[in-house]
Amino acid sequence: MNAASGAAASDPAGPDSVDPDPAKPDPADGLLGTFTTCLAVLLVGLLAIFQATAGGSAYTTETLRRSAVAQAPVRVPNFEVVDARGQQQALRDLLTQDGRVWIVDFVYTRCMTLCLALGTVFQQLQTQVLAQGLQHRVGLLSISFDPANDQPQALAAYAQRMRMQPDIWQLVSLAKPEDRRRLLDSFGIMVVPAPLGEFEHNAALHIVTADGRLVRILGLDEGTQALVLAQAFAPAPAPAPALAQAPAPAPALAQTLAQTLAKAPQQAPHQAPSPAAAPP
């Protein structure tokens, strides 16, 4: 039944081949073998766990997902999306149209729990973007993963409820419901049914660069850091003469803060926070 017995290997103590009684032979006999095997089993076990948890640093799928993306950014797939006005557009075109870095989250408009929290986070982000005058560098995008229910009119109602400002915060749904699985997989979102017809999903803030790559994933409680990081990934603002004359101290501060933040989760190499891959 088991492999251990199958091999007809040379066994020096032949007679005890089917005698599991440890008391009859010399108790020390086999101890060395036992210790060696134990050690091997332990090593293999630890190695397997080490390998499966990114070196013991991540024990949940969510932390694994975040560190994987931080190490190797993922190109956002292309889907047809539809917005509250019913206009269709390719997701990648939307993300790469104007050189803005995007903070992306996933919602469904019927949500009464987590997405409300997400909505609040995004409302605060919208306020901060406005207050800091970042609307040309950072955009907010909510993508619905419930295309069956989230048709343009539902999106419009949600946008109104959340007081979205379309030039800062956009809301889209999938134009083709069959793309749902692929969209969720590409971002690593798992949606599970919850009581009362709701969904539970791993909600997070996804930072997507101006060239359509998912570069960082942050928790819901890290809105401010997400904004700072998004700025760090944004291409440097056009050298407008007015800005050049009066260098504000804030961006420099944001840059250093962003660099320390970016290094924190993953000890990313130095080039990580700087938009090295941004289009020239």
């Binding site: 290997a9 036992t34 499966a52 948890t53 539970e200």
Partner: protein, 194 residues
């Protein structure tokens, strides 16, 4: 016993196949409190039903049940990690590996138990059962969803169930102490020699 071993194995495996698979996909309780224990039990029953199958070569590297316990410990610890529970739900390959390794862990556990003197049993169970209970407490008390595949509600119930399971297993072992102490089995002799 042989029939029971086969039955348990078939039952556990059927939870990974289409008609019943929904259960472990939707409920962490079915996954961690039904299927996984079933697999361990199936392995343990198989080891009890075919005691000679392992042969002397295995017995020689399993003195005092050390290797059996160590193997079972490693495998069960591996499948307690939330990320790997998720993987078993999503990836069929990981699920197959789970079925095979947890069954082997059941075999190893039984092989460890029958060979081990009380001190060795106490060492491994005294480590493994509190680990199980700790995981249960953690799952039941954290606000963070640890498995992306399961709802917080499901995680909470699983946590409570794991604590209960650890308690029950501890009690079963304590009850077996009476029998073990009453009959001086070879394991007692082994302990004295060592």
């Amino acid at each position: 016993m042989k029939l029971l071993a086969l039955l348990l194995a078939a039952l556990a495996a059927s939870l990974s196949l289409p008609p019943l698979r929904v259960l472990i996909e939707q409920s962490m309780v079915w996954h961690m409190l039904v299927q996984m224990p079933l697999l361990l039990a199936a392995g343990a029953c198989a080891a009890a039903a075919w005691p000679q199958a392992m042969g002397g070569r295995w017995a020689r590297i399993n003195r005092y049940g050390l290797t059996g316990f160590m193997l079972a410990q490693c495998i069960t610890a591996y499948w307690m990690i939330p990320a790997l529970v998720d993987r078993a739900v999503v990836l069929p390959g990981a699920d197959a590996a789970k079925l095979a390794t947890l069954w082997v862990a059941g075999v190893a556990l039984r092989q460890g138990y029958v060979q081990a003197p009380l001190a060795v049993q106490l060492f491994f169970l005294g480590y493994g059962l509190p680990m199980l209970a700790w995981l249960g407490f953690h799952l039941a008390s954290t606000e963070v969803r640890l498995c992306n595949a399961y709802s917080l509600e499901s995680q909470l119930r699983t946590g409570q169930g794991l604590v209960a399971l650890a308690l029950v297993l501890g009690l079963v072992w304590a009850a077996s102490l009476r029998r073990q102490l009453a009959s001086p089995l070879p394991r007692a002799a082994a302990l004295e020699v060592s």
